[in-house]
């Protein structure tokens, strides 16, 4: 075997590495810029300098309140929920080897949303209860979809179809709950129809931040395993991956992240669906796209929220904007998969 072959392979791989670093770096910088914009922009535009001073504890009239009570929680909710949606969506799409198989399409988000709305409207529960109920409901939805779609041989197509059915049912439940709810609960419950960062409060954030800080390192740590699972059950097994155990860990972590993000911001439409394919297109398939997918999720949520807040006369919740982006992509994907015979 020649040194030339090694050098040739190494050169190609280095180039792909550099591209990965470059893209990830750009995505990270863009995320920082958007985070700053979320703090600077608002009814009144504050200079970044004042914002930083306010955040470091200094009392500045007007700035301190607006930044730390309204804009910071809004930005943090978008940041962590976006990352959670991106990473979890990519994980699902990769495990199931199908871009349609993401928490949005297969109904996990709806399960978590329905639980959250039920807790708010019927139980008038606290934030902690809403978080726990959403995560449990998300997991139950997954198990339920899995059992219903199991059949004799596992089929991803069937899983997606069952998921879409379950999603329709749960959305009906959400609508029903909203119809019977008391007037004063509607604004907060409405969030679970479209997903919104409006009215995010600091005290709602700790569960989201904690779950994301626990689950995303696990998912990123298992990204090599995820790459191997992508090769199919038999190859993965013969490469020494304990496929069942790995899949369960990955799915539980991803579901927890999606559910807790949904409990906090509502189902921000299509972010978990778009982030993975965009990241993959940007960095290529050889290296893990899990971190770029999370960053794309952050950028999508924050950019869409800024657009929703400031681009129009009327303020739109973030979910409307991401929905406008995501729906055409879903149609495009369906047409393309149909042409390739993958549906």
């Amino acid at each position: 075997m020649s040194q030339m072959a090694i050098d040739f392979i190494q050169a190609g791989r280095r180039q792909r590495h550099r591209r990965w670093l470059l893209i990830t770096g750009i995505l990270a910088i863009l995320a920082v810029v958007l985070c700053c914009a979320m703090l600077v922009l608002g009814n009144t535009i504050y200079p970044l300098e004042d914002v930083i001073r306010a955040l470091s504890g200094e009392k500045i009239k007007g700035v301190s309140f607006a930044v730390s009570t309204i804009r910071l929680p809004r930005m943090l909710a978008g940041l962590f929920a976006g990352f959670a949606f991106g990473v979890a969506g990519y994980t699902f799409q990769t495990i199931l080897r199908n871009p349609l198989a993401n928490p949005n399409v297969i109904g996990i988000t709806s399960g978590a949303s329905a639980a959250a709305v039920f807790c708010i409207v019927i139980l008038h529960a606290s934030n902690a209860v809403i978080s726990v109920a959403s995560v449990i409901a998300g997991l139950i939805t997954v198990i339920f979809i899995y059992i219903l779609s199991r059949g004799k041989v596992f089929s991803i197509g069937r899983l997606i179809l069952v998921g879409i059915g379950i999603q329709a049912m749960l959305d009906a439940v959400i609508s029903y709950l909203l119809l019977i709810s008391a007037q004063q609960d509607i604004p907060s419950a409405l969030r679970w129809l479209t997903g919104s960062l409006n009215g995010s409060q600091m005290r709602e954030l700790p569960p989201l931040i904690i779950i994301v800080l626990i689950c995303s390192p696990i998912l990123i740590g298992l990204s090599k395993h995820l790459n191997i699972l992508e090769l199919g059950e038999q190859s993965a097994f013969s490469l020494g991956v304990n496929t069942d155990r790995t899949r369960i860990i990955l799915i539980v972590c991803a579901v927890c992240m999606v559910a807790i993000a949904t409990a906090t911001t509502g189902p921000i439409a299509f972010v978990s669906f778009l982030a993975g394919p965009i990241a993959k297109r940007l960095v290529g398939a050889g290296l893990s796209s899990i971190v770029p997918a999370g960053l794309v999720g952050v950028n999508l949520v924050l950019a869409a929220d800024l657009i929703g807040q400031f681009a129009f006369e009327y303020r739109f919740p973030v979910g409307i904007i991401t929905g406008l982006l995501g729906a055409p992509y879903l149609i495009f994907l369906l047409i393309r998969m149909n042409q390739k015979g993958e549906l």
Binding site: M1, S2, A5, I6, F8, I9, Q10, G12, R13, Q15, R16, H17, R97, G221, K224, N227, I228, E230, L231, G232, Q234, S235, F237, S238, L239, G240, V241, N242, K280, G284, A285, G286, L287
Partner: protein
Amino acid sequence: MKPTHLFQAEQLVAGYEHKTVIHGVDLTIPSHKISVIIGSNGCGKSTLLKTLARLIKPTSGRVTLDGKPISKFPAKSLARIIGLLPQSPIVPEGISVADLVGRGRFPHQKMFGSWSKQDYEAVAEAMTIMDITQFANHNIDELSGGQRQRVWIAMALAQQTDILFLDEPTTFLDITYQVEILDLLTDLNRKHGTTIVMVLHDINLSARYADHMFALHTGKLVAQGTPAEVVTSERVNEIFGLDCTVIPDPISGSPLVVPKGRYHGSGVTV
């Protein structure tokens, strides 16, 4: 040269839910040799291969490596000794050839960190053996069926196992590529002493390339030995239900099965 292993199946019974396919097979895989499992469709050859390669848990009996049941080995360390190329591996979209071959290095790698020097050497060696180095930085989607099959085998080679199982590595390929793949596998066996066990559909190519053959019929091992011992007209009739004549292959001297069929029988007599 790869180390010698004792790889055995004892009283192996295996199958799928509600259906037993393998009914009590005992066998020893000859080390450093090419073994081929033959049999008709549905006789259980693929199931046997998968059970040996630990993809299917036996209902009873056991598969042992150097006297120890393979189920007792940690998954990753077993993956450094036994490799498997499944019949229809799944191609991730948009991946480069070198990165795909590199995934075969998984059992040798730590959880984090990029490729080590050994990883690069193993990938380059596997790609050189399979003659696909020039495609290293190509996208796998750009390759033809025969080239892709070489990429998959290279991935299994990069795993650097002592024993390699292949489930019909030549199916769906033109005859030219079938011979090419089997030649490359023979190179691997002769140069590195890799023990190869495969299921092949074509009995004549099996007889030419195998050092040792296992003949399977309705889930039982009915014959084993050199191709000359296994491939006789009586046995081909018994296993495949095919009326035939067996003559020496003019190139290799190995047995060559010539089917009789109901037509064209009045020409030359052999």
